[in-house]
Symmetry: C2
DNA sequence: CTGTTAGCGCATTCAC
DNA sequence: GTGAATGCGCTAACAG
């Protein structure tokens, strides 16, 4: 039992006022060299640690930031959590991780609680139903940075993947290999990524002069089951697609399963391209080609942006919130092959 | 700009003292029914939200708990993060998630920072090098619950998987299918799980009257590479094992890869059993049998234990810290088969 | 049942 | 360069 050594204890031990102690330990040359050193030593000996609550109450800054995501299963969120956490800690911030399950009500409650804790900032993948709350927070001086999804209701600093371009590049790649019937498994239209990836796919087809065939598209929730269902649906067609573009990342497992069910070999029988890289894809046999959406870069940029606005000096309130896009990259491995002539 | 409405604003608006306002909103019948209702209404109208910092400073309780894990890649940690987060939030606690990367120094810093924030409690998978700090925290009134790994240096409440029994059960299963040469890929001896799973494996062999052959064991860090290396090593033997028990969970990907390299079919050419279930295993083709170490149950129990000690009434300081074990379960899918006669 | 008074631990203004 | 005093927002005695 030793804890709870306060600034006053340090001051008493050093026979100075508590104010001096505070200044010495702040260490910005507000005290004499000697007392500063002395106080520092005594504080260390006593094991003094400033009470973050008291400090926060006084300074109105907690060095806490909230990170709000839908889950930790999705690879992007996982990367986001790890990267943001690390980046912020390097700058002396603690990360409070919260999970909304993509539920607006939970999200609302979480935002409120985070505000109660007086977090200094917030990085969030919004559900899209609490934009007003986020905007209020932001304009009250708590910077909010959105990631992965945009909240359509309101203008806010947002870091997104370049999904239209990524899906375009992926489809294009397949097209260049000679594929004409490309099945697409994608997220629902209600989500930014679902919509944007579909649009990239369509644009690539159009440019290639291929008519868009809605029956080649299977949209569904972000779950393996979607992949399995989509796979079956597409494979049951008389004119089976020669390539599958799995642009709903969580579906990949289901698609792999569906392909195995039909004893279809990748890439001999069918080409396979996925969206969003993850460790499993590279270890797969054959290793699966992907459009890497750049989760790490997104996380880093989100951290950068927030950190930037967190710095005391800066803070031009909002020259209209900017949107950032992280470019996608095609990573060719061994799951795509030219269509047989 | 509306924020920062304080208790005083509410009190003034209601023309009562700030203390009365506090009591009314606390709502434990310390005020008259009518004023309570009135204050509650006014507070809502004004959008009053208590300042968690001020409250924490006063009450010495923050409803913050720290969750410290090595990473978010490991399935157990992911489950831990999701479950603990959800369970605690249901009880009004926020979770501060921190990642140590299994590095004692980072861990030490994290523990200190968490203490600075005056977290009410801590759930941690310890590196094993900061036991003293954890013990100090605990005996200072901040309950600490360890999970997944035990800190050998010190007695503390700990929730672990029943790894010896799990490994025993898994090995036993393979034995009962007639396998005699069972390759084991496992974590390093320095880790609790590495040691314990190895011991379970050995015990099962002994009971079956089979001599332990160290060359059938490949121990290594928790990475896919370990699986690949182990797989190659074991498969290169003249007397190739007829079954592989992958008890270092992260290695599974590498093992799958290694098997594919050699064009070995599971379960026809070789049986495969993994430790720790994860979504991918069930979706694999063939679906992979596993010893489920019960990550969810562990997370729930850890949350239960901490919550229990967080309740105001309870707190018999420490009748010698207890250790809990979550039983493992064998889940049979389609990756194991009797050895050919 | 309600108001007054005192801090929680710290940073900071104002004197000296 | 240092000390005394003030208050951040809230809860908890202590009176009335």
């Amino acid at each position: 039992m030793q804890s709870t050594v306060t600034l006053r204890d340090v001051a008493q031990a050093a026979k100075v006022s508590i104010a001096t102690a505070s200044r010495a330990l702040a260490g910005e040359g507000l005290t004499s060299r000697s007392t500063e050193a002395r106080l520092r030593r005594i504080a260390a000996e006593l094991g003094y640690r400033p009470n973050a609550l008291a400090r926060g109450l006084k300074t109105r800054t907690t060095r806490l930031v909230g990170l709000v995501v839908h889950n930790l299963t999705n690879a992007s969120f996982r990367v986001l959590a790890e990267v943001v956490q690390r980046r912020l800690r390097a700058e002396g911030y603690q990360t409070i991780l919260c999970i909304t399950a993509d539920d607006p009500e939970q999200e609302a409650e979480i935002i409120a609680t985070l505000a109660d804790q007086r977090v200094d900032g917030l990085i969030i993948c919004p559900t899209g139903h609490n934009g007003a709350r986020l905007a209020a927070l932001d304009s009250n001086g708590t910077p909010v940075t959105c990631v992965v999804r945009r909240d359509e209701m309101v203008e806010m600093e947002t870091v997104l993947a370049a999904d239209p371009e990524g899906a375009y590049a992926g489809t294009r790649h397949l097209l260049e290999l000679g594929h004409r019937r490309i099945g697409l498994i994608v997220g629902r239209r209600e989500t930014t990524s679902g919509r944007e990836r579909l649009s990239g796919y369509r644009r690539a087809l159009e440019e290639a002069g291929i008519a868009f065939d809605p029956s080649l598209v299977h949209a569904g929730p972000y779950e393996p089951e979607t992949g399995l269902a989509g796979c079956r649906q597409l494979l049951d067609r008389a004119d089976r697609p020669t390539a599958l573009f799995v642009a709903n990342h969580e579906s990949a497992l289901g698609v792999l399963r569906g392909l195995a069910e039909r004893d279809l070999l990748v890439p001999d029988d069918i080409s396979l391209l996925c969206y969003e890289d993850m460790p499993g894809f590279a270890w797969q046999r054959p290793a699966i080609s992907v459009v890497d959406s750049g989760a790490t870069a997104m996380a880093d940029l989100a951290a950068d942006r927030l950190l930037q606005r967190l710095r005391p000096n800066a803070a031009p309130p909002a020259e209209t919130a900017r949107e950032y896009r992280i470019g996608a990259r095609l990573i060719q491995r061994h799951s795509c092959r030219p269509v047989a002539p």
